[in-house]
Amino acid sequence: MCGPRRRPCEDAGVNERHTAVPGDAAHLPALLTFLQDFWSELNLPATEALPFELALEEVFMNVVMHGSHTDRAPLVKVSMTLVGGGVTLTVEDDGPPFDPLSLPAPDVTASLEARRVGGLGVFLVRKVMDSVRYERRDATNLLQMTKNITEVGPAPK
């Protein structure tokens, strides 16, 4: 599907990139580079990247944390797809079942003294994305996040 503001339609699959890394914090920079490459190859506006970078970091670091209780680091597969005017980021891992959306929301109105130093990650992901969906599929956790971006490619003449 091609939106009206997009460049001419390209073959299916062209607007899609995949990568996979072990669920170890050392691989975070590689994932962010993957995201940035996707962004520049598809000529997306740089100002729209931050929510996706944030979502990728938060979700990946959650997988790392939850996978650290097991014998081996989970394998984390990441895909990015540009469809119409939106980008979908999918993070899939083969770690123990874990639905990050089941976490209680942190109290962002608490006083400084009462503020907890963790628990903000998933909360922020929900704020910056248009939709976030979790699914336990086969033996994997699948988290799919989508957000429209305001301007995709050059505006039509």
Partner: protein, 102 residues
């Protein structure tokens, strides 16, 4: 965007500057740097391009430490994108945040 490194430094007047990307891989170093500053007052974020929850944690811990010592941290020159993140996290309720001049 781009793969900008993270940089934190303190000038002669004591003002701290953070620039680039404060992601989860940079947080330990940033926290250590801030913890070594006896009296932390102002952090200039004009050139901070990215922050996520791990970076927010660094700033929250710095503010908790300052408050315990009777002071407070001011964040200045905060860009709109970074300000959105602070706002979502409710940090504008517990920190003195000044936006960048537009």
């Amino acid at each position: 965007m781009g793969n900008t490194m993270f940089e934190i430094r303190q000038d002669d007047a004591g003002q701290v500057t953070m620039a680039g990307r404060l992601d989860a891989t940079q947080c330990d170093a940033a926290l250590k740097f801030l913890n070594e500053i006896a009296v932390l007052r102002i952090i200039d974020l004009a050139r901070l391009e990215y922050i996520a929850s791990a970076g927010l944690r660094v700033i929250l811990l710095a503010q908790k430490r300052c408050k315990a010592a009777g002071g407070s941290v001011r964040l200045i020159n905060v860009t709109p994108a970074i300000h959105d993140i602070f706002h979502y996290a409710g940090f504008d309720q517990i920190l003195d945040i000044t936006r960048a001049a537009s």
